[in-house]
């Protein structure tokens, strides 16, 4: 990707990743990402014609299991880690007025 350097829109990426950056930090992040993408672009020189992608390192497929519930109910235990709950629900700021 020879156009990588000009195409990095840090605001767009930060938005997709749900991250905020102060202006100075955004510029720093953009410069770092430029370097990383430039390093990654070395891949483009490798001839991969006719080579199938490999997603599992040992080329095996994922095992499937029967569609039955195996988890036991532990709501209170799990919600003990939640920042805000009420009556068994997770609380977030109002979404619909």
């Amino acid at each position: 990707m020879s156009d990588a350097k000009t195409s990095i829109n840090i605001d767009h990426l930060a938005n997709l990743a749900r991250l905020n950056f102060e202006p100075e930090a955004a510029e720093h992040a953009r410069q770092d990402l430029e370097k990383i993408i430039a390093m990654i672009d070395a891949m483009q020189a490798v001839d991969t014609d006719g080579i199938a992608p490999l997603s599992h390192p040992l080329d095996s497929s994922q095992r499937l299991r029967k569609d039955v519930a195996t988890e036991v109910e532990q709501r209170d235990k799990f919600q003990a880690n939640a920042p805000s709950t009420a009556e068994g629900y997770y609380l977030v700021p109002r979404v619909v007025d």
């Binding site: 993408i37 070395a42 199938a52 599992h56 880690n81």
Partner: protein
Amino acid sequence: MTTTMTLRAMSDALAANKVSSQELTQEHLQRLHADNLNCFITVADERAMEQARAADEMRQQGNAQALTGIPIAHKDIFCTDGLTTTCGSRMLANFTAPYNAHVVDLLDHAGVVTLGKTNMDEFAMGSSNENSHFGAVGNPWDAQRVPGGSSGGSAAAVAAGLVACATGTDTGGSIRQPAALCGITGLKPTYGRISRYGMIAFASSLDQAGPMTADAEDAALMLSAMAGFDSKDSTSAQRDDNWLRQIAEHGIADLDRPLTIGLPKEYYQDLAHGEAIEAVQRTLAEQGHKLVEVSLPHTHAAIPTYYVIAGAEASTNLSRYDGVRFGHRCEEPDSLDDLYRRSRSEGFGAEVKRRILTGTYTLSVGYFDAYYIKAQRIRRLISNDFNSAFADVDVLLTPTSPTPAFKKGQLSEDPVAMYQQDLYTVPTSLAGLPALSMPCGFVDGLPVGAQLIAPAFREDLLLGVAAQYQQHTDWHLQRPRGQRVSTEWLA
């Protein structure tokens, strides 16, 4: 007990009633509290003493196994029920795991005592342990230098004699590189050998747990306890390896024949510690093994490929941290979107954000094929390289890392320079192969490591070669300030 000992020395002493688990645990806890290298994020005094009492009871009832009553530490990436599990991040600083990782369950059932949780690079992203929210870790050989990463706290704790064994995880070298930089033995098993359940996810197609110990015998003992099929991990391998069962009882078997050991020429360029690795070659040749040069032609593409795949998987895995169900939440969010953004921005450190952005970029519309799919194609080429090499050789021998331990701050401002630390470890990770790093000498007083790589599920070859090498050398027994690890109980 003031000397550092191997797991087996402690195991034998416990079996012979020379010491109790409670005595061992008490002594270890005292050492942990005196640690000035910042190896630990959490020390679990009460829980450890409780486990030690239970282990002593197990033994009295005649139910003890080899590891019953032995105190170890877990990398703080493994969920431990009722105990803080931070993954080195502010995001999880107050997270109490509601369940045990499968590895923790297995070791708990074997009667192992958990002393605490070791420091690490945040979400296992780093090669120096400088990315921890809980501060950097010092290398026991020189506290101004890094212990490597991301399992830096585990490696430093073993090298400093705080524990005989700590668990680690390896995504691109996070067991092997810190093991090399701290002068200990580190084993990354085959992908799927050990369950990933309850091991906080970084890059799911690469992550693998393993032991960090003084020597290969201890690594084998730990592997036999940590490995095994787990239905809760969809990539857990269903294996029935006889040698794995034998190891727990009888230790590592002698190699039944001389091996052919490949030296991949791409790994031997511009080495800072060429002499140390050449000495390993001489020792192995003297032991009757045949050494031949081989080529892994796509090695140069491994770092870019790894950083695309690991970044993509990390950005996906870390999308779960939203400030809603667990983890850090910002103060007074004014909308759901504000809650997501500020919780994540406050909770994650700089390197984690870099990896998320890298993954977000390479997975973006228009770039997916050029980066992610391209990387997966190269991943197959790298895997094919290893398959071709293993048609002619049994194992491969390489350096573990390009340099010995570097100074804190030396590389932390340049992420791409830091990524080069993973040069010799990521190809194996991409191919899912087992690899072991063993101490093989010193450069300017700093330990360096040699890496052995085997075909999938042939950890027995790695352990066999390493055990034989360690019978004829003592690098693995050397510790800072002239201390030595004892393989026998010294009361």
